[in-house]
Each structure stands twice: as structure tokens, then as C-alpha cells.
Symmetry: D2
Subunit: 430 residues, 4 copies
């Protein structure tokens, strides 16, 4: 059995005080759902099987170009990060995997594997980094990486990605995620077509090194860090890439990487329909790539994305097997708390989407009854599925109320004494 960083007694005691109410609420909801011909236990089981990966970098406190305000007990290295991820997994029972970022998380692969398996964690997609310069890196990515004008820089970036694959093989990862910051800040700075050609050529070299049972995820983003043009700026370009590279290449959708007002769930549908949806970086946003907690700003949008995913799952869309990962920046909250509740929010959207009466929906769609069609979605979305999520956690040994249990355990205070504070930078980048 896996080691647990939160004492079992604390979880037990926290749960004990909530168990009776949970059962009562679960029962009441179950009765309501049975009237809608839905088995609450079936939903609970599906939720229990649903997992989302934690990004290793998410457990540290985030920041902006203006400042980063460190929190207490921040992880000093990947091993501290894995411990924080273990806490999240223990209390939520929803996050069985960790996604690494190289070179930030570089360490002896064997030690990494041991550290993770100690807590029953596995490794999700590997993430390469060519959007910043690593210490002692030979050539700079200031003007790009995989699309750089200089072949030597592209080569370095290709080799770095191949190295990520190599590390991932040892760790049991089955995917490489490539997000680059390449682009331009001024009209004319780069030739769009030339840069994209170079990018595709470099990606082909990486793709060639991909093991047969791996997938390659490319991630689009409208802007930032580049502020005039970005090489992989939207799903259209992302689709072209996946198509050019081949059957192991897929598109990754980060919910915060689109233009204002864009209908993201429709992009998800298109990628599913054309067999190129690789997975998600979940988070929420109001303005740009705000990297806020999943579901914190527009929870209905998250539900609508899952409405597409469940529709694909139930209709047996060909090759449908999306990867789920959180990708957030926690500037003012305890990252562990935010990640726990974000994982729960993702499960919540999944559970709500499972409640949609799809036969009724199809009928309304067929008769152009827009009002009843949209009400069919709303009826599912409005259902308070918290008892299902809590019961799924509870039955798997997690906490009915993860934040309460986490706070009761005093984990943050404990690691704050063990992990020396990371010095605050004197000022931001501006």
C-alpha cells in the first residue's frame, strides 16, 4: 500500500464528522436521479475512475511578470513536488499521475520513479521547455527555438525534446507535450511561412524519435510570451501540425489559450471529429492565459467542454482517448488547495455531463426545439453532484472535504518549517 503524508486518523476523523450527512445527501440525490432514470452508483463509479494529472510546476506558487509572492513551504525540487502531489492524490483520489517539466524536474530517473511509486503515483506526459534558457544552455531561445532562424538553435531544441522522450521512457510516460513560445513582437520580425516550415521540419525530427506507443501533443496559444505573432497560434495551425506529423500526433487544448469570445467546446468537437484531440490543460480565465483554477470563472463553459467529451465517449468516437491535465498558476492561494479543488471541479463537470439526457437532447435537436435542448443541458448542469464526488472520494479512501482535512493536518505549516523559504525576488520583470 502507498505511503500517506496526511495521517490516516486525521482523514478518518474529518470524514467521520461528515459521513452521515453525506450519506443522507447521496441518498436524496440518488432518489432524484432515479426519477430521471439515472443510477447514481453508475455515475459515482465513472467519476471514481476519472483522473486528472497534476503538473509538477503547479505545486509551487506562481506569479506574473510584475512579481511573484512566495508562499510558505514551497517545494525546493521535484522530490518535494512529488510529495505535494501525493497529498493531493491522497485526499482527492482524483489525481493519480504527475506531469514533469524538463529541465526543471531533471533528476536521476530511478530516484524519480521510486519517489513516485512510494505514493502510488505514475507519470503522465513529459513537458519540454524551450521557452526559457536553462542555466548553462549553449544557445539562447531569445529569438525562438524550434522555428529559430539559426539551424544550430533548432537542433539544440530538437535534441532537448528527444532527451525528454528518453527520460520519459524510463519513467513510464507515454506522451510528449510540446509548447513553445516562438513567435514575434513586431510585424516583419519573422516570415510566417518560413518560420512555420522550420517548425514543422524540427517537429518531424522529434516525431521520428517517438516510440510506437507514445503520442505527441502540440499545444496552441494565441499570444504570450510573443505579442504580435505566435507560431502555433490557434487550433487551425495545431491541426495542420498534427496532420503533417502523422497518426501519433495530436492537438492539446489549454482552455486559456484562445481569442476572446471563442467557442472552445466547438473546437473540441472539431478535433474529436477529425481524430486529433490529444487532451487538455484545464484551468480557467477571464482575460488572457490567466491560469486560474478550473471552473472558478465560467463553470458552465467547463461543463460544455465535458458535454462534448461525454458525447464522444458514449457515441464511441474513433480514436477518442484524451489526456487530462491541470495547468494553472496559483498566485494567491495555497497551490495544494487550489489543485485539489480544481481536480474536483473537473470531475464535477464530468459528472454533470454524464447526467445529460442524451436521447431527449437528440430528439430536441432533431425537431429544432432549441429551448428544450438547452434546458436539457441545464437540467444536468444544475444538479448539485457534490454528494457523488464526495462519495467517490470517500469510498476510495480520500477526504469528504479535502481542504478541511488538509488544513486539519497542518501539512503546509509542517513543510514550511522543513523547507527554507525561497528568497523573494527584489522586483518583477516588467
Amino acid at each position: 500500500m502507498s505511503e500517506q503524508l496526511i495521517a490516516a486518523e486525521i482523514v478518518a476523523s474529518e470524514n467521520a464528522s461528515r459521513e452521515a450527512v453525506l450519506k443522507r445527501d447521496y441518498e436524496a440525490l440518488g432518489e432524484q436521479l432515479s426519477r430521471r432514470n439515472i443510477s447514481i452508483d453508475d455515475i459515482r463509479k465513472k467519476v471514481a475512475e476519472f483522473g486528472v494529472a497534476i503538473p509538477s510546476w503547479g505545486v509551487g506558487t506562481g506569479g506574473t511578470r510584475f512579481a511573484r509572492f512566495p508562499g510558505g513551504g514551497e517545494p525546493r525540487d521535484i522530490f518535494d513536488k512529488i510529495e505535494d502531489c501525493a497529498v493531493i492524490a491522497q485526499l482527492t483520489q482524483a489525481t493519480p499521475t504527475v506531469s514533469l517539466h524538463i529541465p526543471w524536474d531533471k533528476a536521476d530517473p530511478k530516484r524519480l520513479k521510486q519517489a513516485a511509486s512510494r505514493f502510488g503515483l505514475r507519470f503522465d506526459a513529459m513537458n519540454s521547455n524551450t521557452f526559457s534558457d536553462a542555466r548553462d544552455q549553449k544557445l539562447s531561445y531569445k529569438y525562438g527555438s524550434l522555428s529559430h532562424a539559426d539551424a544550430a538553435v533548432r537542433k539544440q531544441a530538437v535534441e532537448h525534446n528527444i532527451e525528454c522522450i528518453e527520460i520519459g521512457k524510463t519513467l513510464g510516460s507515454k506522451a510528449l507535450t510540446v509548447w513553445i513560445g516562438d513567435g514575434s513582437n513586431f510585424p516583419g520580425q519573422v516570415n510566417f511561412a518560413t518560420a512555420f516550415r522550420r517548425y514543422l521540419d524540427a517537429m518531424q525530427e522529434i516525431y521520428a524519435e517517438l516510440p510506437d506507443d507514445w503520442r505527441l501533443f502540440t499545444e496552441h496559444k494565441m499570444y504570450e510570451p510573443a505579442f504580435y505573432s505566435t507560431v502555433v497560434q490557434d487550433w487551425g495551425t495545431n491541426y495542420l501540425i498534427a496532420q503533417e506529423l502523422g497518426p501519433k500526433a495530436f492537438c492539446l487544448v489549454d482552455l486559456g489559450h484562445h481569442a476572446p469570445n471563442v467557442n472552445i467546446e466547438m473546437i473540441v468537437s472539431r478535433l474529436i471529429q477529425f481524430g486529433k484531440l490529444g487532451g487538455f490543460h484545464f484551468n480557467d480565465s477571464k482575460y488572457g492565459d490567466d491560469d486560474l483554477d478550473a471552473g472558478s470563472i465560467d463553470p458552465y463553459r467547463l461543463f460544455l467542454v465535458f458535454n462534448e467529451l461525454v458525447d464522444a465517449e458514449l457515441s464511441g468516437a474513433k480514436g477518442f482517448d484524451p489526456a487530462h491535465m491541470l495547468d494553472q498558476s496559483h498566485n494567491v492561494t495555497d497551490p495544494i488547495e487550489s489543485l485539489m479543488l480544481s481536480a474536483v471541479e473537473v470531475q464535477r463537470a464530468y459528472a454533470q455531463a454524464l447526467l445529460v439526457d442524451r436521447r431527449a437532447l437528440e430528439t430536441y435537436q432533431g425537431s429544432n426545439d432549441a429551448l428544450m435542448a438547452t434546458q436539457t443541458l441545464k437540467a444536468a448542469y444544475r444538479t448539485d453532484v457534490e454528494p457523488i464526488l464526495a462519495m467517490a472520494r470517500f469510498e476510495k479512501g480520500g477526504a469528504i472535504d479535502p481542504v478541511s482535512a488538509y488544513r486539519a493536518a497542518g501539512y503546509r505549516a509542517k513543510v514550511s518549517t522543513e523547507r527554507p523559504a525561497v528568497a523573494s525576488a527584489g522586483g518583477g520583470i516588467v
Copy 2:
């Protein structure tokens, strides 16, 4: 020789008062350009050969859902419209073709051809209309057309498009433009994948009827008239369509049909690079599909689009042959005046883009000299090419100052007496 609706003496007299100054300015600019190793005459010749199509519906006064405020002397039918287009062509010498909209412009094809050839005009792409219900139409497009849930509606829409091709064949058109309003106003109203599948199937039927020397242009638009989802919502979907349909299918870019902040010139580059740029609907916008006069809001953006086009032209991009059309709504100006100046604006952007020192640009790009690269574009853009445009018009028999000549001729006053006012609607649609 073509008939002229603006008396030759008026144009001559108007030009006479401006000729000396024009020649002086042309000479001064010529000297400046020769210092930059550019032959002003070469640029002038290219500009003179550059034409943009006038949409037949553009010569009527536009409006919004709140109201339409008619102008004087509005065209009553396609024959009036052709006359207005002839005036634009005569004075600007930049608009040799007219683009028809069926069923609005339906008439005896022989009469249409005669009406146009009388003024030396030809017909550009045919436009079908399934976003509104024609009088006496059997089935309504209220809930969609080519993607409608009901096969009978889709069939009607397909047949309408095939009819447009038939009419176009007689008129000498070589392209069909398909823009539809299909989409939804509510989450759940349509199943995205099902609707797109139906759309693709319907389009394949239309494509099958396309003559070998024709092209099919599909046009994407983010929203309006549908306000939650739109079947052909962006260039990503548009590209999928062109790819699914085949080698005669291309994507049409309307500058006002994108999400806020989107880098349109980059989309243009992608479509060129993958051989799927069909052409443009030129206009300008600040908020949504505002359909304002080309270059009136963000002239630098128009230049940046032409920078891509000229780059493709000079580098011999494979299959590069974009169609150019204005698509604007003139709510507060005389449509003829707006269309004349908009055609000139499009030529202006083309002329400026021709002035870019592409060898220097490439060098700066190669050495990551972002500042000098962008200044190379700016140097071309800043050049006041008005003398080139005016000289091109003048030498072809047009007006040095088209608006002044048009006003001097009193055309609007004349047609206002001939064409009875279209009654103003009592109120808008809201």
C-alpha cells in the same frame, strides 16, 4: 468603347485642374523611390492592373437590425446596381467586375450580360443566399440550410447553390462563394459534429456540380447571425472544408469575421502556405463584422495583409491566385463614394506592400534584427503613394479625384429623381 455614365467632359475638367500638381508630386515621389532603387512606373503599372470586385449589394444603403436609413436614388434592381458599379469603375478604373447575389440579383442572364458589357464590366464570383428566406421559398432556413436537421431543407439549399452555378456559367463567372448563417443560439441546440457532417455532405453535392475551371470559395465567420455557435466559425474549420472537398475548394477571408485581436495576416499566410487561400472580402471593423470601408479603421492591418500577398506573389507561392472583392455595408455614406475610396484603399495597401525592400527584410529576419525588420515594413507603409494611385487612374481614363468628379457630375441627384425612394421601414428588427 464602353458607355460612360459620368460625362467625359466633367472628368476631363476635374482632372485638368489637378494634373499639374499630380505630375509634380509623382515626379518628386519618383525621385525618392529611385533613391530606394524602386521604379515608380513599375509600381504604377502593377497598381493599374490590380482590380477588386464590387458586390452588387454594396451599392444600396446598408443598415443594422435596429434600422436602415435609406439614401437618395438607391438602386431598385440589379440593372440599377450595374449602372452604379459602372460609375465606380469609370472613375476609379480599379473595379472591372461585379459580384452577384442570388436570388437578389436574379434576372434574365442575357440581359444581365448585356447590361454589364455595355459598361465593359464582367462578373466575378456568384454568391448564394441561404441565410434568409426568399419570397415564395418552400422551406425556411430559420434553423439552418446546408446543415439543417431536415434533409429536405438541405436539398433545397444544395439546389439553390447549383442554380447559382448554372446562372454563373452563362454570365462567365468562374467561382461560387458560399457563406451560410447556420449555427445555433443556445448550447445544445445543435450537435456540432452532426451538423458539420451534414454541411460537408451537402457541400460535396455542390462541389460535384462545379465546372472544372471554377473554384468554390467557403467563407468563415465567428458569429452573427448565429450567436452561440456557427458551423463555419473560423479558418480552422474553413481549411477542413476545403481539404475535404478537393482541389477546387478554397477558403475566403473576410477581414471582419474573426475573433477580437486575432492576427489575420498570419491566417492569410497559413492558407497561402497550404494552398487554400481563395480570396478576400475586404472591409474594416472595430468591434464585430462592422463592414466598414476598407482601411478606415486600421489601415496598417490592411497593409500587413497585402504584405503577405505581395510576398507570395513575388516568391511564386504555388497555386497563388486570390480573388479580391469588397464586402461592406454603407449606412451613413453614399455607397458609390465609399466603394470608390475603398477600392483605392485596397490599391494603396497593394502599392505600399510593393515598396517593401524584401531583400533587406529577409536579411534582418535572418539576423533577428526585429527593429530594422519592422522598420523596413514601416518605411514602405509610410510612403504616401497617392500620386501613384492617382496617376494609374488618370492614365487609364479615370478621375484623379474620384469623389470630387462624382460630386461634380451630380450623379446621385440625377438618379434620385429617376429612382423612386424605397419606403423606409417603420422600425427595426431589434
Copy 3:
């Protein structure tokens, strides 16, 4: 007692089939809420007292500049509209008032009063219209109304608004809402400062005619029908207006009239804090002023607006007395159905906001516990308050399921035979 257009037996029979389940759900929810120290009956009473006005123009089918697709049985005049409003009020018990639009709804005031009182309806704010030209209107509003360059046009617009006040006095209205389309489509078309000065002067003339117990609501909108600049473009300008005019002048907030990504609930808070919130035009939108059904796109945003309203209500914000009205355009649904469910959605957001544990919220805010603060809102929002809303309707004599009762009664079919179809326009405005 008021006359009822939906037979009482139908409502009774519809309710009978739902009553037992409703009571059971109400009880279960009541128990849950009592655990949170909330009395479900208190919430139900507050909801029962909460009303939202129906705009007379909302019961007709809306459209876009591209087309309007009429529905069956559309109201031919204001008397038909009042009947449709009576149906909405009967079934939802949430819409006690109607808001008129002059000149669209112009009729003998006595007859209007009788028609409304027959169904127990009252009149909410009067709406003037200077964004379109009425038949036989002397001067056109093509280039503006209250800010027009010509004093005669401004005078005509002022007089129209004063006439609206006069009509409203007879009808028992207590407010005038002024929304104008004035603005420009081109840089330079108007001088911003001059136009705004003229607008303020004209509004002062209207304000001078306002009875002491009336309020004047001005409504801002970012764009449309003007596409470059709009005289009352945002809440900043709207606040200036209210401040310049005096204590009876207030700002009206239409949820769809803001720039992309704007935090609307914050604007609501600012207007409350500075004593200038007049009220709302509720609707929802994804792109621009889409005028979709309230809560259909982003229900959490609607909740966050009501979170501000309830906070102001409970904290006794000075002069806080906002007017609530729906303002939507129903292009693909039966307007009566959409308005019924939209009124319910507004009540839903109100009910959810009443559930917020404000003492806990304040404590979390005071200790910078962002996570628990936002979870406090989420806990309220997640609660499925449908039983409260249904019970409030039921106890007041409305329908537990308004759409089902409405459909069962066959009202639309009935009026479709009585009201001849409004001829579909041959095509849109474009």
C-alpha cells in the same frame, strides 16, 4: 381577480402531476439549507416578491440584419403583446409589469391601461425610440438624434422623449429609459466632445420635464448600431451623464453592452457605491449584444451580478432600488417560452445569491483566504434552487413547469390561427 388566458384547469392538471415530487424536493432542500442555517421559506418568500419586467417588443420574434424568420401567431399590436405578457405573468408569477416602447406601442392610453389591468399587469419604465425613423417622422435620425449636429433634429428627439413621459404619466409608469444609437462609423465623422455636449444639453431638457417621483435611466452600449464610436459607450460616460443631470438620473446596465472580458459585476458595484445604479436589462451574450436568454451562456456571471445586488440589499446601500427588466431578442425560440424561462433564470440567480453565507464570506475576505471566499460563493451557486422557484410559482398560482403548462394549453397554436402571419421580408438588410 385577473383574467387568465391559460385555462386554470390546465395549470392545475399540470401542477397536479408534479406537486408530490416538488414537495419532496422542497423538503429535502429545506433540510439541507437548515443545516446551513438558512430557512428555505424565507428564501421562497423573497423570491416570490421578486419581479422582472417584460419588454413589450420581446414577445415578437427577433432577427438580425441578415434576416428575420417570423414565428406563428406573432402579436400584431400592443394589445396582442399585452396578452402574451399576461400569459408569461400567469404561468411564472414573476413578471408583474410590462415596459412599453414608443412609438411602437402607441395607442390610446386609457385602452392600454384597461388592457393591462384586465390581467393585473402594470407598466414599468417607458422606452423612447430615436434610433429608427418612425413612419411620417419629419426629420431623420440617420446621423443621430439627441446629439445630432442639427438643433431641429435634437429638438424633435427631445420632444419625443417628453411625449413618452406624458404617456407614461397616464399609464402609471415611474421611469423613462433613454437608449440612443447616436455615434459614428468613421474616425472624424463627429467631434466627440461637441456631440457629447449636445447630448447632455438635450438630456437636460428632458430631465427638466421629469415628474418628481420619476427616475431617468440612461443606458450605455459599446457599439451597434454605430461601429466606430458611440456617444454613451460605457459606464464611465453613463456615470458622467447621471451626475450631470441630477439626483433623478441613474445608469441602466444591459449585460450585453460591454467590451469583451469586462467584469460587469464590478461595474454594478461601482454604480451602487456611488448611488447611480438605476437597474438592468437582463439577457446573455457570447460575442456582442447577442440578446440571448438570461443565464443561457454564462449563468455564473448572472449569479455574480446578483451577488452584488443582494450584498447591497442586505447592507442597506443608500438609495439602492434597481429596476429589473428583460431585454432579449428571440430568433429561434417561442418568445413566450424564452421570456418565461429567462424570468425564472433571473429569480434563480437571486435565490442563489440569497444563499451566500455573507458572514463567512466577510471573514474569509478579511483574512485573504481567497480559496474559501470563492468557495463560499460557489457553495451557494451550486445549490439547485429549482424547488424554491417552483414552489414560489406554485403557491402564487403559477405553473410548476411553465413551459410544459404553456405547451399543454396550446396557446401558440391558438393565437396562430387568430393572428395572421406577418409577411416575411424578402431578404435582410446586410
Copy 4:
């Protein structure tokens, strides 16, 4: 006479090779302008008198939360920064002042004054910093500063601002600019009204310490670093602040701090009309607060802003005296080069706006001739005023081509050897 860091001979030699052509172009343009009844010398004189302040932080290389890629020879402290500013001022003759940021630029005020006067530079507005934590700062601004829930933090922030005033007094500054990052990342995290009340109270304390001949500039920004709400989020709130504080309080407009699509020139007009325009932070942007070089993305927008400023200047708007400052982040260019060209771009917009035929414009506006009104602006904008700008520089002792002279002088290479490289951070903040 001031000391010069670029050898006079280099400037002279660079200018010598360009002087003849400049004179020729200046003459040709002068003749063109005289035809439009404009004296080129008058314009040149106005341009020569126009200055824009350089922000001290602008001469270092900027970055994003993902990475900062240092350039060579970056300034190590405020004294190096002043030298870089001196180079900009020498070559452009357009930037007579430097704007300091405290605590980043904290140093012995006497030394600061000497350092600046050595190069003939003066000090513009002082900028306080409460958006990041200074080393050894007692209380953190993680959860806000002037609006913080804790009175002690607010007091610390007030005192810091008062200290900035004190330093500024010694340096001869006459204004304090306050921009704060206060806001929230989650709905509910702060109470909007309470936080704003606290902000206003704190600002009143600062205002009370403002010398009589000083001005207080507050700067609004839609988002970043806060991603759900920002205390001073738009010009509406900014205006409320200036009004609440008193006659020495004004609004500062940063061109990149608005919602997508917002008409900024209209905001400028409103603030002028109500006597509250304090000044500008010039830059350009495509997506968010991109801080790109002024005029690099949308030069026509910059012109339209200056069109308002010149209109106010010529019409004698009461109390009109805006401060001009650049505020940019240079991530991929040499900051000195970007700042030189940006200062020139600001002058360019000013020069173009001076060319507008305002009498004609007013006439067209009065007769609703939208087309000719907008063409009147375009005619001015299209004029290539480069000879005027270059001549203004040349006559004041600057460089005809500042970038060329700067590169010829080898300044960057020289300081790169003198100033040790700032170590690149190992990775970004994410």
C-alpha cells in the same frame, strides 16, 4: 553645455551623409504642405518643442512571466540608466526627461540630480511601486497594497508613496504616478466596494501630502497582475478617483490597459472634456498589456489619440496639459533603439495631427459628410512627415537617423564590456 555620450563627430558624419537628401525631401514636402496652406516650419517648430519622458525601467531588457532574455550591457543601476537615457535624448532630441521608479531607482537624490544635469536631463513624474515586494520590506503586498484588508499594509503603502513625493521634491519632479496591482483572482476574494473605499481613503492620505504645484496621476488597467478584478480597472473608476481626490488629481491613460476593441481616443476626449486628463503612458499592443513600441501595431490609433490632443490644444481646452511618457517593455530589441524610435513615433503622430485641416473637418462634421470628414483625417495621416521629424532633430543637434548613428557609435558594444552581464534566471515564473 551638456555632456554627450555619442561622439559629436559620429553624429556629424552620419548626418553629413543624409543632409542633402533631407533638405530636398523637406523642401518637396514643404511645397506640398504650402499648397494645403500649411507652413512646414511652423509644424517643425512645434515638433521640436514636443518631448516625451523616458521611463528609467524601459532601458533594461523586459520579459514575461515565462522568461527574460537579457541583452548585452544592461544598466546595473539608475546611473547606468540615466546614461542610456542621455543617449536617447542626444540622438532624438525628443526625450528631455526621465521618469523614476522607487524603490528600483533609489539613490542619493543629490547624486541623481547631478547625474541627470550632466546630460541636461530633468525628472518627470515619480512612480511608486506597491505591486511587488522590495527586499527587506516589512509587510507583503501579496494581497494588495492601498486597498489591502490590513490597515498596516495600507499604511506602509501610503508611506511609500509619500516617500516618493519627498524624493521627487528634491529632484524637481512635479507629479506622482500611482499604479497598483491590487485586485483579486477569484470571485468573492474581495468585496469590491469595501476595497475601493479603502483605496480611496489611502489615496486621500497621499493626496494630502502633495505639494501645491504637483499633480497626482492615477492609472487604470483592466487586468494583470490581478486576473479576476482590479481595483482601478477602467477610466470610469479612474475618473471617480480623480473626482473624489480633488483638483490636483488626474487620470493617466496607458494605451495598452483597456478591454479589447475599446475606443481609446474617445476616452481621451471624455477626460479632456471633464478636465481630468493627466497624461499618457505610450506603447502599443495587440492582445493585452503587451507594452510594445509605440505605433508598431496600430499607428492610426496613435494618430487618432493625437488628433484629440491637438484638437484640445488648438481649441484651448480648459486645464489641458497632459504629461507624455513612454512605458514599454523591450524583450527582443535593444531598448535604446526601441525607445528612440518610439519617441519619434509619438512625435510623428503629433506632427500628422497638426496637419489636419480642422476648419474643413468641422464643416464636414456639421453637414454629416462622414466620408469627407474621415478623408480629412486620412489626408493628414497619410502625409509622410519623416522630413519634418528628421529636420527637427537635425536642427537641435540630434541625428537624422538615430538608429544608424547609435549603431555607428558602437555604444551597446562599449557598455557591454563595461557592464557585467546580469545572470539569466534559470527559468520563468509560469
